[in-house]
């Protein structure tokens, strides 16, 4: 039986179909979760997809944070559930305080839509364990507000605690730590492309692994991340160790 993985659909999400497709390709049973519902339908993991939730009004992700679905996702995450935010989904997680930091306007002020190269910093997480060895991964970015920011003390803590999950790198794997490095598409501090929360069950990244899942698309490197998530969710479900997003309200789920 395949594991159920939810994709939250906000008004303005536009990569939800890609996420659903990639999850299916990775062997999951994808489940569409509507933003107005707090019912997570018993999923074992959740993807927040790319797009422009609520039109990105005010700040990207700011309004999505208060949706019934996000309140349920927060409770699901607090109970240890696996959550992956991609692009706009990362912005939503950051606004909700589920991952550290914030995503600022790209340093160039331009919307950047191109293939980038990233490398995992950690290979022992639910989001990266199938990558196998540390190596550059090719996948696209498409965003106007992807410049990762946190204050210096937070950045130091993230590095120390292993919460930096991905960095932008050159094709030879050399990290693009400098915000003005051409391999750093948005000016992210220390070249950070993705981070995790302290507990290691919530991750966000700006690049799009879900649109790099077949050679036809220019790269299938992203499938390694999606498959890592799906297999981690399946493994946890089999071990009976995690809360699934079943349950009535978000608050009950959080209280467990």
């Amino acid at each position: 039986m395949s594991v159920r993985v939810g994709v939250v659909v906000f008004p303005g999400s536009n990569r939800d179909a890609d996420a659903l497709y990639a999850l299916e390709l990775a062997g999951a049973e994808p489940v569409r979760l509507w933003h107005e519902s707090a019912d997570l339908q018993g999923v074992a993991a959740i993807v927040l997809p790319g797009g422009f939730a609520y039109g990105d009004y005010l700040r990207a992700g700011a309004i999505a944070r208060f949706s019934p679905a996000m309140r349920a996702v927060s409770a699901f995450a607090a109970a240890g559930g696996l959550v992956l935010g991609i692009c706009n989904g990362f912005q939503v997680l950051a606004e909700a305080g589920l991952v550290p930091g914030a995503l600022l306007r790209n340093r160039s002020l331009r919307f950047v839509c191109r293939q980038v190269t990233i490398a995992p910093e950690r290979l022992d997480t639910p989001f990266t364990h199938l990558i196998g060895e540390r190596r550059p991964l090719r996948m696209p970015v498409a965003h106007g507000e992807g410049c990762y920011y946190a204050d210096e003390a937070t950045l130091d803590a993230l590095e120390r605690d292993g919460q930096v999950l991905f960095r932008y790198v050159h094709d030879d794997g050399r990290p693009a730590l400098d915000p003005d490095d051409p391999a750093n598409p948005n000016g992210s501090l220390r070249g950070i492309a993705g981070v995790m929360n302290a507990a290691g069950n919530v991750a966000g990244l700006m690049p799009h692994p879900e649109t790099a899942v077949e050679a036809l698309l220019g790269s299938d490197d992203g499938l390694l991340i999606i498959r890592s998530l799906v297999e981690s969710a399946a493994g946890r479900l089999a071990a009976g160790s995690v809360a699934t997003g079943h349950a009535g309200g978000p608050l009950e789920a959080g209280a467990r």
Partner: protein
């Protein structure tokens, strides 16, 4: 495209079809306070918009201008019994939604106040806040 769902912040704003339970009783004396919330990038945070504005200044033939920061101004009306109460609501809204405290700071400006029992003067009546009373 669907309309975004109303954001749930205390005190709850009444949806058109179901009145919020904690809405002030109509008999309660209320004044409408008009505020501006000014949100700007925190000092030290890179502001590429401010930098772009600054870099355009030579094209205008202007000099002596520095430290340009681009922010956002939100104006709104709050009905409450007292200014302190209204300000506390605006402060919560500014802290939780209008700004992101990691990267932005905000200031609250009182623009004016009008008793909701009179229709004269500034600000104009905010019908969506007290629609039940009209």
């Amino acid at each position: 495209m669907n309309e975004p769902a109303p954001i749930r912040l205390a005190p709850k704003q009444a949806a058109p079809d179901k009145p919020a339970p904690d809405k002030p009783a109509p008999s309660r004396p209320a004044t409408e306070f008009r505020y501006a919330v000014n949100v700007t990038p925190k000092p030290g945070i890179l502001d590429p918009q401010g930098r772009a504005v600054e870099q355009s200044l030579p094209h205008l033939g202007l000099s002596g201008i520095s430290a340009v920061r681009v922010g956002r101004r939100i104006e709104l009306t709050v009905a409450a019994a007292a200014e302190a109460e209204a300000r506390a609501i605006v402060d919560q809204l500014a802290r939780e939604l209008l700004s992101n405290p990691l990267i932005e700071v905000y200031g609250i400006e009182l623009l004016g106040a009008t008793s909701s029992t009179t229709s004269a003067g500034y600000p104009s009546p905010a019908t969506d806040l007290e629609s039940g009373a009209r």
